[in-house]
Symmetry: C2
Subunit: 402 residues, 2 copies
């Protein structure tokens, strides 16, 4: 890790067991941790104006190098003055390196694969070489190339406050041998990313490394060591965490302690309520995930209902005449103004208003979850807070049946 | 027309030529006229929460009997306490009778036909009889029946402040003879609507009649007379207005003077900028139209650009790097926060945020247009106001090239 703080200052303010709360000071302001980071992969959080995302209390969003590289392209965003200005977002911004998405093409759906749910072997025309990765645009099939240098160059043009290094994201079905070789390449790519950034990167842009190694404890240890020794501002845990929640918890529980205590730690792509609590307990700090906005698109609301995996499906029958808000006590506009009867009607009718109301609700839910987690950690009461949420009785909402 | 004012009080405050400005006092508050009425056909204005629609300054929205009859059904809305409560809208609400939509099925696209653009003869399985109309649900093909009594019953359950009578909406391709017979049936249906409403309607719900007669001056005169003699609270001009804008202006110019001066007058389904100004000049008061929200869905923004019919297409190429707002001077959130470069990118990427930003902009445009029209009429300057808008130089925005 780097010892200076000109690009990112991370301060732990309170610790409760291994859970901690603190502040990450970026070039575009502070991020209170633990923090949930909404996805703005293509330069917008689904259906929301950037000012509304800030209004919900979020201090950072995540843009995606892969999507923005394909369209509208880094030159156009640079010409606008960077991604902050392009999308009208004045707070902190982190950019994913594009590795996850590129390898998703190669491995036939990494999004499923890293969670052990894919079938593997459905790889698209993606050529992974030491130099970088050749692939085709998802929009029009144009041949494209991303290397560590290209990814860092794109992220420099986007002007994010935190860039992530370009890694190979190994899927669940990769064997130990492949994972070992891939992890070593990820470390060579890390060096190339840092070299490019040292010579060309924006002065105030921080860089996070990515710890790979799949589900293998020794590979995670080697990777954690390589990443910890590099001059980085923080690190992220990437790659597959196993086939189910139990294995994910196990992989996280042996990986988290391998990381340097003082560094800010990003868990990539994890954001279900129970997973987030488990990761916060292990001392991880920031979390991005498609869940709140993807659920919204499918008519699903986050809710304090452990029996239904903390979600309720508004597209199902049975909500007719239900005069309760989505979640009793929730401060979001959907819950303040409307009932389940109306929102379920809108969701079944596939009205855009339903997606929007559910985005507002689900993001508020994550914001409340992390805000209360920060308070609980500061009060030394994270365990009991976590138990309450898991039991379906969080402090910002009333327990509800589905 | 009715002479009492227990259900709707309409007061003309200023007159400028035949244009006038006034207030329609409904059971849910006042509507300043001339007013543009956003469509909430299915119980929501596209992508907007009801509170946001009020925030834009609108005092009335239009719900649709046909859509809400098919789904979620009048019983469910009545159980919620009516459409106001169902959708969280506290201001005035008018409901269309469903006639336009039902006959759209029969005549193969009335929406196009009334404007003389359809081909005719593509009728779906719709059976029009004296008793009413048999048709099938657009959702699942269930056989359904709407008559004057059913339409009024549905509108009573919706609890709108103004119900429209059930009429046959004759298409452009209908000949004079068919139009004459259809208009007579519309008058018999008017009587049935009023009889049902007198015996069963909500006490505070006003009823508007609909003047039919197609493009034929004598038929419009007969219809205007029949409607004017009925105990109604206001009236609407429906049916085809001809094949193009010139014929529409002509039909409106001989129809408008046939209507009783003191009654509030609704022009159904017309809302392009120039058409609205022409109709306001003729003394018409309220206007509903899909244009602002439909344009938004197609990436089109309303703009003071007469050369491109008061619209700009953000999905076209050529907006890259354009740092202007959609419309210079426009007070909407899209124009206050974003530029054409970003919004055109979002529109081409088919992001929901684009539809939403364009809905906010286009509705703001109609709100500004009518608000300034009211001021201009009160100041006796409607003609010069209208000329400025038509020339591309409205008082709330800066003339722009496309």
């Amino acid at each position: 890790m780097r010892s200076d703080s000109s690009r990112l200052r991370f301060e732990v303010k309170a610790q409760d067991g291994t859970a901690r709360t603190g502040t990450m000071q970026t070039a575009h302001g502070p991020v209170q941790t633990p923090a949930f980071i909404p996805l703005a992969s293509k330069g917008t959080v689904r259906s929301l104006d950037s000012a509304e995302v800030a209004g919900l209390g979020f201090e950072m969003v995540l843009g995606n190098t892969y999507h923005l590289f394909v369209s509208p392209g880094p030159e156009r965003i640079a010409a606008a003055g960077g991604l902050h200005r392009f999308m009208g977002w004045e707070r902190a911004l982190i950019t994913d390196s594009g590795g996850f998405q590129v390898f998703s093409l190669a491995h036939g759906g990494v999004a499923q694969e890293v969670k052990g749910r894919g079938r593997g072997g459905r790889g698209a025309a993606v050529l992974i070489e030491e130099e970088g990765v050749n692939f085709r645009s998802y929009k029009d099939g144009t041949p494209l190339f991303i290397s560590p240098e290209v990814s860092m160059d794109v992220q420099a043009k986007l002007g994010s406050d935190i860039a992530l290094v370009f890694d190979e994201c190994t899927p669940f079905h990769a064997d130990r041998d492949y994972t070992a070789r891939s992890t070593e390449r990820t470390h060579r790519w890390l060096d190339r990313c840092l070299r490019w950034h040292r010579d060309n990167g924006p002065r105030r842009q921080a860089v996070f490394g990515i710890v790979q190694g799949g589900v293998h404890e020794d590979l995670r240890r080697e990777s954690a060591q390589a990443v910890s020794e590099a001059p980085l501002d923080g690190l992220a845990i990437g790659g597959t965490l196993g086939r189910d929640k139990a294995e994910m918890r196990e992989v996280l529980s042996f990986t988290a302690p391998l990381l340097p205590a003082g560094a800010p730690k990003h868990l990539l792509g994890i954001g279900e309520v129970d997973d987030l609590l488990a990761a916060i307990a292990l001392g991880l700090d920031i979390f991005d995930c498609a869940v709140p906005t993807r659920f919204a698109r499918h008519g699903v609301a986050l809710a304090p209902s452990p029996d239904t995996r903390f979600r309720i499906d508004l597209r199902k029958a049975g909500w007719e005449g239900d005069r309760s808000p989505l979640v009793e006590g929730c401060p979001c506009p959907a819950c303040q103004r409307h009932d389940r009867d109306y929102i379920s009607y809108l969701a079944r009718a596939e009205e855009l208003t339903a997606i929007r109301l559910l985005c507002l609700h689900n993001l508020t839910y994550m914001q409340e979850l992390t805000a209360h987690a920060r308070l609980a950690i500061a009060a030394g009461a994270f365990d009991s807070f976590s138990s309450e949420v898991i039991a379906g009785d969080p402090p910002w909402a009333t327990s509800c049946s589905s």
